[in-house]
Amino acid sequence: MQKRYVTIWFQSLTTDWFIRKQPGLKEIPFVLALPDHGRLVVTAANNLANKEGIEPGMAVADARTLISSLKVIDARPGLNSKLLKGFAEWCIRYSPYVAVDLPDGIILDASGCAHLWGGEKQYIFAISKRLRNFGYHIRIAIADTIGAAWAVSRFGKDNTIVEKDKQIHSLQSLPVASLRIEPATTEVLQKLGLYHVDQLTAIPRSALRRRFDAQVLLRIDQALGNIEELIQPVFPPEPYHERLPCLEPIVTATGIGIALQRLLNAVCHRLQQEEKGLRIADFKCYRIDGKIEKISIGTNRPSNSSKHLYKLFENKIDSIEPDLGIELFILEASKIEDLATVQEKLWDNKGLDDTALAELLDRIGGKVGNENIHRYLPAEHYWPERSFKPATSVIEKAAIAWKIDRPRPLQLL
């Protein structure tokens, strides 16, 4: 499948966050600062401060000479990575593969996602509109490669859609810094008069390799799509998962139940075809306000019966708080085991290896907690209180025989 990547650049992530928390800051110039070598150094400045020439890396004392009324707020180290992680999780509603791109970006693997929003234009417009409504200054671009999308989002026009296999054209006029090269190398390139990407690509590869480190070539190849680049998703998606986006936010328990039923049917249908059953399943509800509600269930035996699994989830639906509404449901089967279809027996030898019994224990365990259900196996020990041990599963067999050489009381005090 043709790969498509979206990159989002948060131009002023931390200052936007402070403005969102304290709307009064919107009107005044302020900077975030951290003490460094006995002085306060600006780590981020808002738009108003930027206009006056205050930039990150400046000492606060110098900045105060430019704007005397400058407000200084203590920066929180690690805030941007925390915020980006939150955004990446939020962005899972747009694509299952989302990665954090420190220090100020997010990468979405949008392959096969955009058509759900009616096209790439609507897709990136939907994302950027939501993020801007939160009060963040962002720039967004979509391209075949991460490198091209990254370059265009930061150095090109906003909301750029780089057509398929056209990344070379869109990159040509961009500065060399757009290739994600180390600042030191960029400086050298600029000193040599290589300002734009097309100047760099015109040079034979062997010459580039000889004069610069391998990183330059690697970055060019990544941007042009000659080398595959991998991203580390925030939540590696489970191989068995189903998504159900909703047109209108869902707030009722009945609505959640219907969504769950649909997802379970889809997952179970797939499991049945592959002769597998799930042991652990998570049902995640993405709320409009960005929070995620999650319920999970476990079963004693692999199961692919949607009716049974629905029953297990049913008790827990009440614990979901839809708040303003849920816009995306995801069902993940995080633990899968083989489930061979057994031939039906003509006569029943009622035993522990039985679906109906396992389902009963799931139901009881789901309601009162699995820690209250015990089964015991013999343990090789002379002490009576250690002569038995809890079994790990319902079908675990006794490895040794029970000792019956001494009379033992049935009832303990």
Binding site: K350, Y376, L410
Partner: protein, 243 residues
């Protein structure tokens, strides 16, 4: 004429039993669950399977005796295979001891629940599960509605239910098929042999639907419950209390 009448009445009785959920189970391989003299108290002279039995006890010793007697019944109920659920509020059953009654302890699933409401719910769910052989629940109170629910559940699934009521506040009417009271008796050994003998109980059938209540002395020997007339013939004075 009277013989014909008796026949008709007998037939009608049998029909009524069927309507009430007592099916005569014909399985020549299944061992008899209780001694014949006790069985004669039940309709069809068969221990009712697929019914709920209620056991009353007022003292700690009676609780233990009841658990023992039920284990004796379970031993023949479970046969070679079969699983069983035991629901109680504390871990007072010592699993290895079940083996002495011929029950594989690993076939018993213990569920420990504190609230009576939860125990009743779990019991009803378990009684609906046809893969189980028996369900044992330790409850203190059981009202008529709850017992009726349990009885309806077993009539469909044919699971046998046992309810152990320790020190109930009142002996109210329930929909259970039987009500028992088990008291422990001193065990006895032939020919004044030393040591502890086989478990022995005084089994009192207080109530039985369509049957005759009675009282017996039952011993668990040779892997089954036995009614030993020879033991009963021994005068009470010579018995040694062994605990």
């Amino acid at each position: 004429m009277s013989a014909v009448k008796a026949d008709i009445i007998d037939q009608l009785r049998k029909d009524m039993l069927l309507l009430q959920g007592f099916k005569k189970i014909i399985n020549p391989y299944a061992p008899e669950i209780l001694p014949a003299s006790v069985r004669s108290a039940f309709p069809n002279a068969q221990f009712p399977i697929g019914a709920v039995h209620e056991f009353i006890s007022f003292h700690q010793e009676e609780v233990a005796a009841t658990a023992g007697f039920i284990s004796g019944i379970l031993a023949s109920l479970m046969l070679k295979s079969g699983a069983c659920i035991w629901i109680n509020s504390s871990k007072n059953i010592f699993p290895p001891a079940l083996k002495l009654f011929g029950i594989p302890p690993e076939k018993i699933i213990f569920i420990h629940l504190k609230k009576e409401k939860e125990i009743l719910w779990a019991m009803e769910e378990a009684l609906k599960c046809e893969s189980l052989t028996a369900v044992i629940g330790e409850l203190r109170e059981l009202n008529f509605t709850a017992s009726r629910r349990l009885q309806l559940a077993v009539e469909k699934s044919q699971v046998t239910g046992f309810i152990l009521r320790d020190n109930p506040r009142s002996l109210n009417t329930t929909a259970c098929v039987t009500r028992w009271k088990i008291t422990s008796l001193p065990s006895e050994l032939p020919n004044d042999m030393p040591g502890v003998g086989f478990p022995k109980w005084e089994v009192e059938l207080l109530k039985v639907r369509n049957g005759k209540p009675g009282k017996w002395e039952i011993e668990f020997t040779e892997g089954r419950l036995r009614y030993n007339s020879k033991i009963n013939a021994i005068p009470m004075i010579s018995k040694k209390k062994t605990g």
